[in-house]
């Protein structure tokens, strides 16, 4: 049962990385879009794609947290108390990102739009970095069991953390560009298709290179994780991820954006699954195994029952949302963000 709960948690994390990660990536492209007039089109398109879904995408994080503390309470307390600096940073980023994005929707002048937009974009960059850094601290075995027992700084300022943080930003940007190219294609905006296609290819290349280069970092900084990734199920997942990532690049190149969404998703699944496999049987590497970390059977079974019941309601709801979105039923007209407030 502990394994089922872990699988659910990792599934939640994957969904968060994929969906919310892409929303953070949207912030990255918003940040780098250039001046108000030149970047207005890109920014308008990002806003249009994110508006109806970003809140639902964000909820996956809440999901991961509540499963974490219910099923693995001791690990949760150890992780959050040791990694409090990056996690607090991520929380501040989440507040600023969400609030600034929602408020920018009501901005009436170019000045207001710019101010909220800058906050939105910067926090979209900072948040995934901090989260990635925290995960890197866990994966490289820097979180001992106990109340703030680990080092508050080196637990997240270390080669693995920096690598995972950078990867989180790059992957988000990549996913976002792939999805946005697809959305632009559906909205019949050829300029935007070209713009996001170029970004997708560039970010995909960066993310791929970071991953390959990162293996060298892991080999020296987190050898146990590295060994797990080059053998058995860990290796299989890593290979799937790499192939799916490459396939996504090819599909984007060919303009097959709808299919590219799914291969991009597969690439992210490969990363989280590979990480989980590589770290077996530990939840906190070197400190706590999955079985040691697990709550009692009564809690785990209650959790699984609640999850099963909840998913029966959630899956059709999500299906409804995404089918409405992907069929353009909730589409806003896409107008360059600067023109929206000028008119």
């Amino acid at each position: 049962m502990a394994l089922s709960c872990l699988a659910l948690m990792m599934a939640g994390l994957t969904a968060y990385g994929l969906l919310a990660g892409a929303d953070f990536g949207g912030g990255f492209w918003d940040l780098t879009a250039g001046g108000a007039r030149r970047g207005g089109g890109v920014r308008g398109m990002i806003k249009r794609s994110m508006s109806p879904v970003w809140e639902a995408n964000h909820v996956w994080l809440i999901f991961v947290l509540v499963i974490f503390w219910t099923a693995f309470p001791k690990a949760f307390g150890s992780v959050t108390s040791t990694l409090y600096v990056p996690l607090f940073g991520a929380v501040v980023g989440i507040v600023l990102r969400g609030a600034a994005f929602a408020l920018r929707g009501e901005a009436a002048t170019i000045g207001e739009t710019r101010a909220f937009g800058a906050v939105f974009a910067l926090s979209s960059l900072v948040t995934p970095f901090f989260m990635g850094a925290a995960l890197g601290g866990i994966a490289s075995g820097r979180v001992p069991v106990g109340n703030a027992a680990g080092d508050p700084i080196s637990s997240w300022v270390n080669p693995t953390s920096l690598l995972v943080g950078a990867l989180a930003v790059a992957t988000g940007a990549y996913l976002s560009a792939v999805f946005l190219a697809g959305d632009s294609h559906r909205a019949e905006l050829p300029d935007m298709v070209t713009a996001f296609k170029r970004r997708a290819l560039g970010a995909g290349a960066v993310a791929g290179l970071l991953t390959l280069g990162g293996l060298a970092v892991l080999k020296s900084d987190a050898p146990r994780l590295f060994d797990g990734l080059i053998s058995g199920a860990g290796l299989a997942a890593a290979v799937v991820s790499g192939l799916a990532g490459a396939a996504t690049l090819a599909l984007v190149w060919l303009g097959r954006f709808f299919l590219a969404r799914f291969t991009a998703a597969l690439a992210v699944v490969g990363v989280t699954a590979g990480w989980a496999f590589a770290q077996r049987p530990d939840l906190l590497p070197g400190a706590l195994t999955l079985d040691q970390a697990a709550a009692g059977d009564a809690t785990l079974s209650a959790l699984l029952v609640a999850m099963a019941g909840g998913l029966v309601l959630l899956v059709p709801s999500l299906w409804l949302l995404y089918s409405l979105v992907l069929h353009g039923r909730l589409d806003q007209s896409s107008e360059p963000l600067d023109e929206r407030v000028r008119s």
Binding site: W69, K74, F88, A99
Partner: protein, 458 residues
């Protein structure tokens, strides 16, 4: 009961409490985060129902004013929901960032409530998006139906979170053996004896706060002479709902207080500043608790026994029925409790004036003072809400889990929380200012009753 509890205290799941340099900062960060989030929860509980009510009227009558108002309010909902999402996320993180030993020890007991809340919240987020972005894009009836899950999940979400708060006050669903939590029964913990009254009290508070704040916005417009049909409906709907809820809240509050008197007598003694156990206890208006006595208050003989026991000669336990180290800080609790009761009573009085005028004269009150009172009622309702939560949360001290785990045992050993606290204060001040500023702009320009331009709803 009290003695049993003391025997059953735990050592934390992360070991005995280590150094805890920043307990005070942790408590204040938690209090600030809750104070920001809870008013938003009220809107989550009550506002979607009000909006659907208007949309239902539109579907029945075809009157575009109802639709314009429903649309306008749903736009406000979207902003408030977004802010609620992020401030709620802060609270989730704080379970680990501030109280790691609480969560490490009891996460397996209370976590189930939050799993269910997670689903509620998820479905709420999905259908709010469909509802708000679906105006004029979905068929009217389907659009209305998509609002119903928002109403339901707004209620179930707060229900499950309150279940956890009820559990902290009335911890059940586990045993403590040798300081370790065992034999966990998560469903029993979820359905604890404090769930019912806490939930009903908060649910009605949601309608009071939302109703009076929204009514207050339009009462201001009314005072400025904007009295067309749009503004009249916008005033009457929330005001009527709040006016119906206000008197009911007094009855529910009595139920809650009696449950506390029965199960947490020391907390009730702190509400009242009652030092020693006595029969025929007096209710003291105001007063400051100094050196183990309540001074400078106005005593009303036997009223406390009457309220707590429904018997003027009933026995009420005093603070000194437990050692000093097990008593909550009295003045904060006593003042908050009295403030909540005073505001609640005043709001009920305002409600009676309104309902009476409507019932006898079939019209709105004419006095300018009535509308000024409605303008004030919104912020006052928020003050009462926060005061109520301070009453129950500070009244629970020194326990985080009543009579099982002390708050200092729960807190993080990490240092430097002052920095985080300062960040949070600045962040929330900026957030509050930005939200108020935008919402004011939204109410300043009433929309045309016709269909709005596409893209206007985002």
């Amino acid at each position: 009961m009290i003695d049993l509890g003391l025997l059953a205290q735990v050592t934390g799941g992360l070991g005995d409490p280590g150094p805890q340099p920043d307990l005070l900062e942790a408590r204040q960060m938690q209090a600030l985060s809750l104070a920001v989030h809870i008013p938003l929860v009220c809107f989550g509980i009550a506002f979607p129902a009000m909006i659907l009510f208007l949309e239902g009227l539109w579907l029945r009558t075809g009157d575009p004013v109802y639709k314009a108002l429903a649309k306008r309010w749903s736009k406000v909902t979207l902003i408030l929901f977004a802010v609620g999402v992020v401030t709620g996320t802060v609270l989730s993180f704080e379970f680990g960032l501030l109280w790691p030993n609480f969560t490490a020890t009891f996460g397996e007991v209370f976590g189930l409530g939050f799993v269910l809340e997670g689903f509620s919240f998820f479905i709420e987020a999905i259908f709010i998006a469909i509802y708000v972005y679906g105006w004029d894009r979905l068929k009217p009836r389907l659009h209305f139906l998509c609002g119903i899950p928002v109403v339901i999940t707004g209620v179930t979400g707060s229900l499950t979170v309150i279940a956890v708060n009820g559990w902290m006050n009335n911890p059940t669903g586990f045993d403590v053996v040798d300081g370790k939590v065992t034999n966990v029964r998560p469903w029993e913990a979820l359905f604890n004896d404090f769930l019912a009254h806490e939930f009903v009290h908060m649910y009605i508070a949601g309608y009071l706060v939302t109703g009076f704040i929204v009514a207050g916005v339009y009462a201001r417009a009314w005072l400025k002479g904007r009295r067309d049909r749009y503004h009249r409906i916008a005033l009457v709907v929330p005001l009527t709902i709040a006016a119906l809820a206000a008197p009911v809240q007094i009855v529910v509050g009595d139920w809650a207080a009696r449950t506390v008197a029965d199960r947490q007598p020391v907390k009730l003694a702190a509400f009242e500043g009652l030092a020693d156990t006595k029969t025929g206890a007096e209710f003291t208006l105001g007063g400051v608790y100094v050196d183990g006595k309540l001074k400078y208050g106005i005593p009303v003989p036997k009223l406390l026994s009457l309220l707590a026991d429904h018997d003027p000669n009933g026995e009420v336990a005093g603070l000194n029925s437990v050692p000093k180290k097990d008593q909550p800080p009295v003045n904060v609790v006593h003042f908050s409790f009295q403030l909540m009761v005073a505001i609640g009573t005043a709001l009920a009085g305002l409600a009676v004036v309104y309902l009476f005028t409507w019932w006898r004269r079939r019209r709105l009150p004419r006095s300018k003072w009535f509308y000024r009172a409605v303008v004030a009622a919104g912020p006052l309702a928020v003050v009462a809400l926060i005061a109520g939560w301070i009453t129950t949360e500070v009244g629970r001290q020194p326990w985080v889990v009543y009579e099982v785990m002390r708050t200092p045992q729960a807190v993080t050993s990490a240092d430097g929380l002052e920095v985080g606290y300062a960040f949070l204060v600045v962040l929330y001040a900026a957030l509050g200012a930005a939200v108020v500023w935008l919402l004011r702009r939204l109410t300043r320009h009433p929309p045309q009753a016709g269909p709005e331009a596409p893209g206007d709803s985002g």
